[in-house]
């Protein structure tokens, strides 16, 4: 342990011990809600209390057989995937452009491109509500997909941009000088190199859309309710164990996304390590 070498005095050891205790408590605070809600979804009773009266899958059964929940899951998938595809295309193009563009307006453009992340959700939602209602884009899939794309694209610009920072633009020039048409050069030279950034950008984009609820609250009609939206009304009305089943399903999706992300990051680090 690297800390050991410097832990010479009692007071230092006490300080280090205190750090470990406080950090442990914070880790418990961070994990407790997620860990507490999981077993409840497997309860055979209708009350959200411990000890569990017995184990069962009845709430998952109810989730799967509820048209409302399944529609919302389907909506979340449709909107999430469409917004991801759109934001990956727009974000990657923009990141490629920004990497080569030299202008004093670049910081401004970058600020504009990244601003959807910083602006409070309610403000974006209210603006979109005013703007999309007259042109019939509220209560439609297209409206939600466009709105979620705007929120998700900054993440693609950031992640692809970060990969491009270590990307040697001369490779693209070399491909061109060897006679590769621009699209071919992109597909065979640039794309494989920026793929990790692109993949993590896509994961971020999907997670952003999959988790978004404020814009959906303002803009979705009854047919476009997403999973988080359904959870929102569920929490408002009364928390039934079915919500905990939905929560576990959502968390599982998050864990898969996170694990994929970690895998990508590790792979990237390995690649960097071997090239250095």
């Amino acid at each position: 342990m690297s800390g050991d070498a410097s832990l010479r005095t009692t007071s230092q050891r006490i300080a280090w011990g205190a750090t470990i205790i406080i950090a442990t408590l914070v880790f418990i605070f961070l994990m407790a809600p997620i860990l507490a809600i999981m077993p409840l979804s497997f309860s055979s009773g209708a009350y959200l209390t411990y000890p569990l009266p017995g184990l069962s899958l009845r709430w998952y059964d109810e989730f799967i057989h509820s048209a409302r929940w399944m529609t919302s899951l389907k909506n979340s998938m449709i909107i999430g995937v469409a917004a991801t595809v759109l934001s990956v295309v727009l974000g990657t193009l923009a990141a490629l452009g920004l990497a080569q563009w030299k202008s004093r307006f670049k910081p401004l453009v970058l600020a504009i491109v990244l601003s959807p992340v910083v602006v409070p959700g309610v403000i974006t939602a209210v603006g979109l509500y005013f703007f999309f209602a007259p042109i019939g884009l509220t209560g439609s899939y297209l409206g939600l997909i466009l709105a979620h794309t705007a929120l998700a694209t900054p993440f693609v610009v950031i992640t692809v941009g970060a990969t491009l920072q270590s990307f040697d633009m001369n490779l693209a020039r070399a491909a061109a000088s060897l006679g590769a048409p621009p699209l071919y050069a992109f597909r065979r030279v640039i794309l494989p190199l920026i793929l990790p950034g692109l993949a993590s950008g896509a994961l971020f984009a999907f997670a952003t859309s999959f988790d978004e609820v404020v814009i959906v609250l303002f803009m979705a009609g009854p047919e476009q309710r997403t999973l988080p939206r359904e959870m929102f009304s569920g929490i408002r009305e009364n928390i039934s164990p079915t919500i905990t089943a939905a929560a576990v399903i959502l968390t599982t999706v998050s864990v898969i996304l996170l694990a994929t992300m970690e895998g990508l990051r590790r792979r990237n680090e390995r690649l960097k390590g071997s090239s250095a």
């Binding site: 914070v26 403000i123 950031i158 929560a247 864990v255």
Partner: protein, 420 residues
């Protein structure tokens, strides 16, 4: 001197190449810009346009102008000192009859009711009792008889004040201010003056959550930065997993944990620590707990990256020069974490300012923040002007802090504060 000489000497062969290079470079720049343009155009339609539209709604004053056009035109040269003359009354009678026929009176009534409470009744009663256009010269008398409010200067001042095309009315209202009958800016009546409190509350909640995150996040970041990579990567999962978990899931989980027959209250009762359940949610405490939980990773991650960059050699050097551990920590380590502390705190504060979902679900009526009122006026009462004005103020606060944040992390990696 030499440079000038060299360039001029090389000029015959150099200039065409230079020009060609320049041209190629310019073409590259145009191409680069062309790649960014689709996204900019997209954001113009889905983000910048809508936000500009919202800002416009905060000052737009079209209702009275549209519904009572003749009245607005005649009032344009009314000095506002005495009651307007017969011409204005006649114009108003015409406008009201036309609006009644077109069914648009309610639009103006709603707008004017914001300015003077009860204006809706004045307009509707007048419209109901005004059977036909008054005889020339009797409009003033007729309207005054139907509703004595037309003999009041304030009634007319309200119409003039709302005649547009732009107004500061909503922005002033969002700051608990209003214009009196003479057009001077004064404090709003106490029953309408709630927004300063909401602003202060929003800032207090955001600030408290930021401080809580810093207190809880600092030891964790320190531990993660100090432990060897293998162990800290493992512990990092405890930070990243909640971070990636849906906001709704986490909020729902806190309700399950903290409600009166929830896990925490049950356990405390089981252990005999309390007799009756404590109120832990649907109040400020619940808001602090849930928001701190959601925003903590945004503090830990920037802190962690700033601490990770501090070489242990500095602390060893301080120790070898005889600094006691506490002094070394305070004088050597802590100052180097300041950029991380500033970035993390600003980020948490900015994100907290705009919070809506969490306070709406785990807070009580007295814990609702700015965003709640913006949403309320947009969807429930459809007072778009006020919603937009409150939104404009929140946006300005956020953007100012955002620019500050941008300055702070400039040079540091862009992703430092975000989801990575």
């Amino acid at each position: 001197m030499t440079e000038a000489f060299l360039t001029s000497a090389d000029a015959p062969t150099d200039v065409p190449l230079k020009r060609r290079l320049k041209r190629a470079e310019r073409a590259r720049q145009v191409k680069a810009l062309a790649l960014v343009l689709p996204l900019l155009a997209f954001l113009l339609f889905t983000f910048l346009g809508p936000i500009a539209g919202m800002l416009w709604h905060a000052v737009d004053d079209w209702e009275v102008r549209k519904v009572l056009p003749h009245t607005v035109a005649t009032l344009a040269d009314w000095d506002g000192r005495d009651l307007p003359d017969e011409k204005a009354y006649a114009a108003l009678a015409d406008d009201i009859l036309a609006a009644r026929a077109a069914g648009t009176l309610a639009i103006a009534a709603k707008r004017l009711n914001y300015a003077v409470n009860g204006f809706r009744t004045i307009l509707t009663s007048t419209a109901r009792n005004l059977k036909a256009p008054p005889e020339p010269g009797t409009a003033k008398e007729t309207l005054g008889k139907i509703n004595p409010a037309w003999r009041e200067r304030t009634t007319w001042a309200a119409i003039k004040g709302a005649s547009g095309p732009v107004t500061g009315f909503y922005l002033l209202a969002a700051l608990d201010l209003t214009r009196n009958v003479d057009g001077a800016i004064v404090a709003a009546p106490p029953d309408q003056a709630i927004y300063r409190d909401v602003f202060v509350r929003t800032f207090i909640i955001s600030f408290s959550v930021t401080v809580l995150c810093l207190i809880l996040g600092f030891p964790v970041a320190y531990l993660l930065a100090t432990l060897p990579a293998g162990r800290s990567n493992l512990l990092m999962i405890f930070v990243l997993l909640p971070f990636w978990t849906s906001l709704l899931v986490r909020t729902c989980a806190w309700i399950v944990l903290l409600q009166s027959n929830g896990v925490v209250n049950d356990s405390l009762r089981f252990l005999g620590i309390i007799d009756a359940p404590m109120r832990l949610i649907y109040n400020r405490f619940g808001v602090y707990v849930a928001m701190t939980h959601v925003l903590l990773p945004f503090m830990i991650l920037p802190l962690y990256s700033s601490m990770k960059a501090i070489s242990p050699a500095y602390m060893r050097a301080a120790a070898s020069l005889g600094a006691p551990p506490l002094t070394a920590f305070l004088r050597i380590y802590l100052p180097q974490t300041l950029p991380g502390i500033a970035a993390g705190s600003l980020l948490v504060f900015i994100l907290a300012l705009g919070y809506y979902i969490t306070p709406a679900l785990v807070g009580g009526g007295a814990d609702q923040m700015m965003s709640y009122f913006i949403a309320l006026y947009t969807t429930e009462t459809a007072n778009w002007g006020l919603a937009s004005a409150l939104g404009a103020l929140l946006l300005v606060a956020t953007l100012l802090l955002g620019v500050l944040y941008g300055r702070l992390v400039q040079g540091q990696q862009v992703t430092g504060g975000m989801k990575n």
